[in-house]
């Protein structure tokens, strides 16, 4: 890791409700360089909330505290809303799992990508259109000119997800948070998208936070992995060393996966320890 793009120290997120306080994130710290950082955990482990907090997009009811969330020279914790608007989309991109809920249903997908580009670069609409078409090509969409004029409901899930990724990459952010971005895709499409993200990290020095529940995928794709359980990072590992994980939770997750080549009669079920 050469230079640090983002630094998070002791991030805590809690919700106050009628039934008491719920701590969704309980002290998470990490640094992100020009690398692929995986965050793995089950649903409810706080991995998505961590991603949201970096963009200050947590729900209004969430109480976010941290020692530090530093993006370059900007302190995310105290930045004005105007500064945040400038950061969101231009410096940090966020791709969510389901394109159905993330795209505007009444605007063509091409225009949505072009709009993202225009807002962040002050280019002419012709330039923006050109960039959007080029970006569609870059995310492996066949016939980008035709797809430019299509509406979200005309897309398959995989295409929709590629549109989202194109929209986030068109403004060339420094950091991309991919929240289960490839989970809904077919293996063959997923391969293309991952190769594209990998290129962005290798060639452009993008910092990628790859939030996923898929241990196998993260182990093969990412450089480093944070394993989260109930709001805490229980283990940080080099992705290639995941097999040497020592925490019982990580081991339990690894064991619970069905394996193609070494079949077992029953899958071991994770036993949870209240102390984790």
């Amino acid at each position: 890791m050469t230079d640090t793009l983002l630094s998070v120290r002791d991030l805590k997120i809690s919700f106050h409700g009628a039934s008491g306080t719920f701590d969704a994130v309980r002290g998470v710290s990490f640094d992100l360089g020009r690398e692929k950082l995986g965050i793995v955990g089950e649903s409810g482990s706080g991995k998505s909330m961590t991603g949201r907090a970096i963009m200050r997009l947590t729900p209004p009811a969430a109480m976010v505290r941290a020692e530090r969330i530093q993006l370059g020279e900007v302190n995310i914790l105290s930045a004005s809303e105007a500064t945040m608007n400038d950061i969101r989309g231009r410096r940090i991109g966020l791709i969510m799992q389901d394109p159905k809920y993330s795209l505007n249903p009444v605007v063509t997908v091409g225009e949505q990508i072009a709009e993202a580009y225009r807002i962040h670069t002050r280019s002419s609409s012709a330039q923006a259109r050109e960039r959007a078409v080029a970006m569609l090509g870059a995310v492996q969409i066949r016939e980008p000119e035709r797809v430019y004029r299509m509406y979200p409901h005309e897309m398959s899930g995989g295409m929709g997800q590629r549109i989202m990724i194109a929209m986030m990459l068109v403004s060339e952010p420094e950091i991309l948070i991919a929240d289960e971005a490839t989970s809904a895709l077919d293996v063959t499409v997923r391969l293309e998208i991952l190769n594209l993200l990998n290129d962005m990290v290798q060639k452009r020095g993008l910092g990628l936070i790859f939030i996923s529940h898929d241990l196998n995928l993260v182990r093969r794709f990412c450089d480093r992995v944070l394993i989260m359980y109930r709001g805490r990072v229980v283990e940080t590992l080099k992705a290639s060393d995941l097999d040497q994980a020592t925490h019982p939770y990580t081991r339990g997750l690894l064991d619970a996966m069905p394996r193609i080549h070494t079949p077992r009669k029953r899958l071991p079920v994770l036993t949870r320890d209240a102390a984790w």
Binding site: V187, R190, L194, P258, T262, P268, V269
Partner: protein, 264 residues
């Protein structure tokens, strides 16, 4: 278990969407058969028609077939009441498949009422026990349950009519791996206890390898090949597409060391 008797026989099944001039064959002349007590997989990318086959079997989409027999009954034209009792479906997303404003108990009682099942309450309790759900959850609504609990409710509901065949449409792909392990174990146990036959749609080759004996690989509405899972995982695929699918799953799939060791 008499493995020689096919309980599902399908020959030349075709499903066409769209009207004249703009037709698309989602399923194009598919044939396969599944033996009693077997788990048969349907693998393929999204849009390959695998889920549409399940929908065609249940009559949710119009279809044509030369042969379509389930549990001995011809279901090409009409499906008797018996059919809906013997064949049940479990969907991918239990949150969408359960009624949002019905309690767990009501989810179970509704099919019982529609099917006119005798002793519904006793069956309801038995179904909950079978899927390992606590009685304390009876009066909860779907949004008050975890993903794994919801899928257990959906499976319990399918068991209410004491079916012979379960159509499983990506039953664990919306679940965490730890919960997936629990649900897959549960499905295996239920199969052992009740001799159920599963027709399972999935895109996860790991799940196929774990659950199925045989599987059909689909692409663009056609079965590319049908093969034993042993052959599938040990490089016995004869078709280019199947190999591509396996390669793509392995590229970011399980550890290459495991794979190499298993082959050796």
């Amino acid at each position: 278990m008499n493995t020689a008797t096919p309980i599902i026989e399908i020959e030349d099944l075709t499903v066409t969407f769209g009207v004249d001039g703009d037709e698309r064959r989602a399923v194009d002349g598919v044939s396969f058969s599944v033996n009693r007590g077997e788990t048969f997989g349907l693998v393929g990318e999204s849009g390959s028609g695998k889920s549409t086959i399940l929908r065609a079997i249940t009559g949710l989409v119009a279809n044509e077939a030369k042969v379509m027999r389930l549990a001995g009954a011809d279901i090409r034209k009409t499906r008797g009441k018996d059919f809906y009792r013997k064949v049940q479906m479990v969907f991918q997303d239990p949150y969408e498949a359960l009624h949002p404003r019905h309690t767990v108990w009501r989810q179970l009682m509704e099919p019982a009422r529609i099917q006119n099942i005798q002793g519904a309450e006793a069956r309801g309790h038995a179904a909950l026990d079978a899927v390992g759900l606590s009685r304390s959850l009876l009066w909860r609504y779907p949004h008050q349950l975890s993903g794994g609990q919801r899928q257990r409710v959906a499976i319990a509901r399918a068991l209410m009519s004491d079916p012979e065949i379960l159509l499983l449409d990506e039953p664990t792909s919306a679940l965490d791996v730890s919960v997936q392990a629990e649900i897959l174990n549960l499905l295996c146990d239920l199969q052992d206890e009740r001799g159920l036959t599963y027709l399972m749609v999935t895109h996860d080759l790991g799940v196929v390898a774990h659950m199925c004996k045989r599987t059909a690989v689909m692409q663009a509405g056609v079965i590319v090949e049908t093969l034993g899972v042993d052959a599938l995982v040990h490089g016995g695929a004869t078709q280019e597409y199947t190999r591509k699918l396996i390669a793509a799953s392995e590229a970011y799939g399980e550890d290459p060391h495991d794979a190499a060791q298993a082959r050796a």
